[in-house]
Amino acid sequence: MKKDEIYERLNKVFRDIFDDDSIVVTESTTSNDIEDWDSLEHINLIVAIEQEFNMKFNMNEVTTMKNVGEMVDIIISRI
Amino acid sequence: MKNFIKTGIFLIIFLIMFHYLFSILWLSRTPISSFYDEPDDSLDVVYVGASNAYAHFNAPLAYNLYGFTTGFMSTDSVPFTLIKYLIKEAKKYQNPKLYVVDIATLIYDYDGIEEGAIRKSIDSMKFSLNRIDAINDVLKATNTKKEECINYYFSFLKYHNKWNEIDYSSYQNPVYLYKGYFFSSYTIAVEKQKEYIWNDDVVKLPKKNYNDLIKLIEYIKDEDTQVLFVIPKRFFNENDVKMLNYATNIIEESGLQLINFNKLNDLDIDFSHDFYNYAHLNIFGATKYTLYFSKYLNDNYDLIDHRGDKKYNSWNDEYERFKKSFYNYFKYDFDELLSK
């Protein structure tokens, strides 16, 4: 799967979770850039991404991912 | 290097400010502060002991009469165990011909000594190893908790709280000391003491007090210091008298000198006019005492007459100040009293 395609599918998940159709994520997007992305929503997001790509993050990754770029690298390595 | 110097300057400024701040906060001046004010090696006699020392002996008057200078290593009810450290402290600054040691507090019960009595002398002393030794000793003697030591080592731990008590009026009427001498204009008649007659009965000193006396005598002998012990003229109860008689015997047996002013008949001090409370002479009693005792000191010890020496001008000034203050209270000249 190409990176572009992953980002496209990620955008879909983000828009769905945060109820905001204007979200466009990039490599450097962090939780600070999206208003509702806080510790309460974090796991919902992670689980939704796992379902979308049919893969699993481990707990260490869940707690240490710094931005969407790192997230994408992990997704690529798993699918 | 630059940082090192900067830190040094910072600390020096800090210490100077700290020093002045706490002299403001502490306020109290004791005879020991007057002692430190004197130039090094300028005192001929150092008078050590509790309040009986500086309330009884008018040092500027003695200077005016014979020209020798007297400093006081003395505060209120100083615990006897501290006498040794006060002499040590005096030796750091002065080289007097004679130490006069008042032993009135020898009979005090150590369990009854209050924090204030310890603090007044300890807090007047400059920070030094001697002071730390003194603290350790006196706290041990009074069974004070060990953790308390630090509050004595660093007296600001206690006195910083005084910011709340100080106002302008605190500075209005400071207690004024004349080279350490404290002058009281009050008179009370100490009737019951009139009857009491000293005899030669003895009773043993409590163990702690006895040990203190022995330690002091040993110290004096080791250091080869010239000391004259005195028992001040004042009220003592029957048991006090017996203990002091006992102490007198110990001191005399060890070959040291002691004068008991209660047993001197030619010292014309009477209990109805010459006291401001049961234990302290007022200005009239103190004048009689000083006239007598300064003559005795001048006759028996090789004391130098500094009168006329410009370096000692402050003693004249202080005597004049004292006379002025006497006049303000009684509206007649102090010399009139002297001529009587």
Binding site: D38, S39, L40, H42, I43, N44, I46, V47, N58, M59, N60, V62, T63, T64 | N3, F10, I13, F14, M17, F18, L21, L25, E148, I150, N151, F154, F156, L157, K158, H160, N161, W163, N164
Partner: protein, 505 residues
């Protein structure tokens, strides 16, 4: 050893002197020795030695077994079990006894368990959790275990953090803790200023607030109305200045050594919601719970299943929230319990906080709609101020329980609020509760200074701003700081209340 005492200062100075004099290779050994002296200072008994050794050996061996063995989970659970068991035994026995007594009461039995007093080592609530997270990190493959047991001992007991945190993570601190550090003037200067600021917060503000608060809380039948209101409003400030002041001292010492610790506070009382407040208050505890309890729980198969069931029943929106709130509730009960083995802690710093956050989360969309309809602007100063005040009031209310010691005390405090008389404020009666007029003045001025510093902090490090000033101004500020601590600090004979509110946890 209390952080604000001379003995602690002397202890630190000696440690630092030796630390920077010895060969850099053995610097960590100095820290290790100091930490163990600190750990057992005034509390060296067979029992306390056993406690420390048990936790250290448990962590050491389980970490190695977790890494090597094929039964990782088994050894992880064993390790956590032992540490947690010891913590519960030391800290929560009484909580269970209270519960048993309640049950016995309900069963009309007259038998009651009497409370026990356990002699636990200082900092046990801190290093138990630190060691648990260490084991979990190894299990998750985030770090490699420390093979040197003494180095592990240092990680467990690094002395500044034993009294009040912050929680550290092995991978963040490893290189600093065992690394070699040269003495650095700038670091020392910066660290010392931070220590002074911490002392100011504790000795000048927190202890002073404590006189008033303790007087009111200690005499609930005497003080009511305005006294109660002020005591309630003061308490979060007392807690904050005490706790963050300790953290300042701890971080200052670490800065001088060259060890970076995570920040634990970020001007919490400027928060506009309780949710935000907890993101800025005791940050490292929140992060710990999030990473080791909240996320794993929420992501667990069990919670996901509940989520699925709920989605089918209540629809997607609400469905996905239910596992979230369940995990949150559990986490808040744990936060409350961590603060102490009393129900009042679980209510004050747990359940009530959860309720506030739950309401904020659920009501926020509604209030947004209402504001829009009424034309209330949300991004103006007045509205933000309202939010900040509201948050502070909610927090103060919850903290009544935190301070109360018992539910009945908390209730009498709350009822006292309504016995309000205005006369108290006008004729100087307010100065009768532990703080006289001049102490009140000092308090108000120092709180104002605190406020200004916190405002400055929002736009970057206050110390950096100070160091950018010219030397005269800079030194003047430092001297003023030092002398206000020396003169107005509540310490010395007559002031022996230097017990840390957070230390007993």
């Amino acid at each position: 050893m209390v952080l604000t005492t001379l003995i602690f200062a002397i202890f630190c100075i000696i440690t630092l002197l030796i630390y920077f004099v010895v060969p850099k290779k053995i610097q960590w050994i100095i820290l290790f020795v100091s930490s163990f002296i600190f750990l057992f200072y005034n509390n060296l008994t067979i029992g306390t030695i056993c406690q420390a050794v048990t936790i250290l050996l448990t962590t050491y061996f389980s970490s190695i077994l977790i890494e090597k063995s094929n039964h990782k989970k088994r050894y992880l659970l064993l390790g956590i079990g032992i540490i947690l068991g010891l913590l519960i035994y030391l800290k929560y026995t009484n909580l269970f006894l209270v519960s048993f007594n309640h049950i016995l009461g309900m069963l009309h039995s007259s038998f009651r368990f009497s409370f026990v007093k356990r002699n636990s080592l200082i900092g046990v609530s801190y290093y138990s959790l630190i060691m648990i997270s260490y084991l979990i990190d190894i299990y998750r493959g985030a770090i490699k275990p420390q093979k040197n047991i003494f180095k592990l001992g240092l990680f467990m007991s690094y002395f500044p953090i034993l009294t009040s945190g912050p929680f550290i993570r092995y991978k963040d601190i490893e290189s600093d803790l065992y690394g070699r550090h040269k003495f650095n003037y700038e670091r020392m200067r910066s660290g010392l200023i931070r220590i002074l600021w911490g002392l100011f917060k504790i000795l000048v503000i927190s202890e002073r607030l404590g006189y008033f608060i303790d007087t009111v809380w200690g005499n609930l039948e005497v003080y009511s109305g305005a006294f109660s209101i002020i005591a309630i409003l003061f308490f979060p400030l007392q807690l904050y200045t005490n706790f963050s002041g300790s953290i300042d001292i701890i971080m200052g010492i670490s800065e001088i050594i060259g060890i970076n610790l995570p920040e634990n506070f970020n001007t919490p009382f400027f928060s506009k919601t309780v949710t935000e407040l907890w993101r800025r208050w005791h940050i490292t505890l929140g992060a710990w719970l999030k990473d080791y309890i909240f996320y794993p729980l929420q992501k667990s198969d069990f919670m996901q299943k509940i989520g699925k069931i709920c989605k089918n029943k209540f629809g997607k929106k609400i469905g996905k929230k239910i596992p979230l709130y369940l995990s949150m509730l559990l986490m808040w009960i744990l936060i409350g319990a961590w603060h102490g083995g009393l129900y009042t802690f679980i209510i004050g710093s747990g359940i009530l906080q959860f309720i506030f956050i739950f309401l904020e989360d659920t009501l926020q969309p509604i209030s947004k709609k209402i504001n829009k309809k009424l034309g209330i602007k949300e991004d103006v100063f007045s509205y933000k101020l309202y939010q900040i005040v509201r948050t502070y009031l909610l927090f103060s209310f919850a903290m009544i329980f935190f301070r109360a010691g018992s539910v009945s005390n908390a209730i009498s405090m709350i009822t006292n609020v309504f016995k309000f008389k205005f006369s108290v404020l006008s004729d100087g009666v307010i100065y009768m509760a532990g703080l006289d007029r001049s102490n009140f003045k000092v308090l108000i001025i120092s709180l104002f200074i605190l406020f200004v510093v916190q405002l400055l902090k929002r736009s970057g490090s206050v110390r950096e701003k100070l160091f950018n000033q010219n030397i005269v101004f800079r030194w003047a500020i430092i001297y003023i700081l030092i002398f206000s601590i020396i003169i107005f600090g509540c310490y010395g004979p007559g002031y022996d209340s230097t017990t840390f509110i957070y230390r007993q946890f």
